[in-house]
Amino acid sequence: MIRDITLGQYFAGESWVHRLDPRTKIIVSLTYIVALFILHTFIGFAFAAIALAVVIALSKVPIKFILRGLKPIFLIIVFTFVLNMFMYKGDPLWHFWFLTITKQGLYKAVFMAVRLVLLIIGSSMLTLTTRPISLTDGIESLLKPLAKLGVPAHELAMMMTIALRFIPTLLEETDKIMKAQQARGADFESGNILNRAKNLIPILVPLFISAFRIAQDMAMAMEARCYRGGEHRTRMNAMHYGKSDAAAFILTILFVAACVCERIFIA
């Protein structure tokens, strides 16, 4: 059951990208994000877009699914676009009252919007092709060197895993409590905002109590099985870097090299 949890937008699949080690995918995604800030021309962006398109094609995630993920951030993109368009000083193209659009402003606005879209799609490829649980495993493993500096890597990862694990449980609990209060005549659908907020109390109080109870039981069960934190723990599904990971790293290095060249040689 725990393997079926889909937080946000995981797209189940068996592609080459899905099978990569989560650590590889995290590193590659971070590198891609940095690379987007190295690039400074549209030619560079076109190159980055092609690279991204190749990854999407390899992952076999439908374009529709990816674009759906863009919807919630659409407003942010529009907002950045409009702000950039009006706030930049330069040769005016169009003027009305206090609003001026300049040539440079328009260029900058499109530039930023493209960067933002690539950024979002690029990073969503990570969550689309990696199960949340593998993602936390990957993060834990990558943070491990920092444990020497006092970063509680294992604890952070464990917290994320538990949080993910309990989303469906709490949803189920909420459903049960809602039904029980509805059976007592509670109405969650009508009334103004204030009334509706007040109507949530009969759900929230029992839900909090349940959450604490579950957390306590869970802590007890973990202790009963001698849970001791990260020291010397091994895992059932150990992560391995394979040939495809090596290939992915080489391609990423080439990609970054190309980006650096773009920065240096294209004006």
Partner: protein
């Protein structure tokens, strides 16, 4: 007051890969004043069925008529249905939320839009009906009570709505034997009082045999048996194949018969068993 369920079907996650039929063509009637027991394996569709009876779930097809209202009709008033049919879920103590017991029990009646005096009276009555001392408990926080008391307060919260049909979904799960007995005595008392129909779901065949006028047996979303306890428990082998068992006394009688004592095996309550044993042993003395 009677309930008619006609050919209802319910499907979970329709159209998704994990589509499951939870209820398949279920039909039955409950007559005025009956005490109905529902038994079935975990996942047999009992809880789904109960939630249909007070409109929390809508059937995909079929009709449910409670009294003279068709609760499956579009636009049926949910509040009116819930006033008529009270549903106590499994582990109802997890739905308590108010600061005091009295306020929590008053939640249901308040939602019905009753006036304050009426609510107070109902709260007092409901708390006393579940066997608690109103004056003693009304100002306490529900979270300070023992498990059995919490359970009773939660049941009082539904009884205070004065439903004509009261549904209890495994009301004794996880309680100690004393509290178990008290809850069932309470159910009987309520049934003798003004609540017309009681529907009890339980895994305890002794309770079902003891209390019910009619027993419904669910298996994999289908209603497989419906009849008096005598009729249903006479089909012991079929029940066992569904992962259900017989009341303890029935098992005892069957064993005795197997070992050569001449007793009837259609015995379902302790009282009947006692009489039958006296008769059987008495006969032997005569010989």
């Amino acid at each position: 007051m009677s309930i008619h369920v006609k050919n209802i079907n319910h499907v979970y996650n329709e159209g998704l890969p994990d589509e499951t039929a939870a209820l398949v063509d279920v039909s039955f009637d409950i007559n005025d004043g009956e005490f109905v027991g529902i038994i079935g394996h975990t996942g047999s569709g009992k809880s789904t069925l109960l939630q249909h009876l007070n409109g929390l779930l809508k059937p995909k097809s079929g009709q449910i008529i409670v009294g003279d209202t068709d609760i499956t009709a579009p636009g049926a008033s949910m509040l009116a249905i819930r006033r008529k049919v009270g549903l106590v879920f499994q582990y109802p103590e997890y739905q308590l939320f108010e600061e005091t017991v009295a306020l929590d029990v008053a939640f249901g009646p308040k939602n019905l839009g009753l006036d304050k005096d009426e609510i107070d009276e109902r709260v007092r009555e409901a708390i006393e009906l579940v066997g608690l001392d109103y004056e003693d408990i009304k100002e306490k926080s529900p979270f300070d009570l023992s498990g059995g008391q919490k359970r009773r307060v939660a049941i009082a919260g539904v009884i205070a709505m004065r439903p004509e049909v009261l549904i209890l979904d495994e009301p004794t799960a996880g309680l100690d034997p004393q509290a178990h007995k008290e809850i069932l005595d309470m159910a009987r008392k309520i049934h003798e009082g003004e609540t017309n129909i009681i529907i009890l779901v339980s895994h305890n065949m002794n309770d079902i045999a003891e209390l019910s006028d009619k027993v419904l047996v669910m298996d994999e979303g289908k209603l497989v048996m419906c009849g008096t306890p005598k009729e249903v428990f006479a089909r012991g082998d079929e029940l066992e194949s569904m992962g259900l068992d017989l009341p303890d006394v029935t098992c005892l009688m069957r064993d005795l018969k197997e070992h050569g004592l001449d007793v009837p095996t259609d015995i379902f309550t302790e009282k009947e068993a006692e009489d039958a044993l006296y008769r059987a042993l008495g006969n032997r003395d005569d010989r």
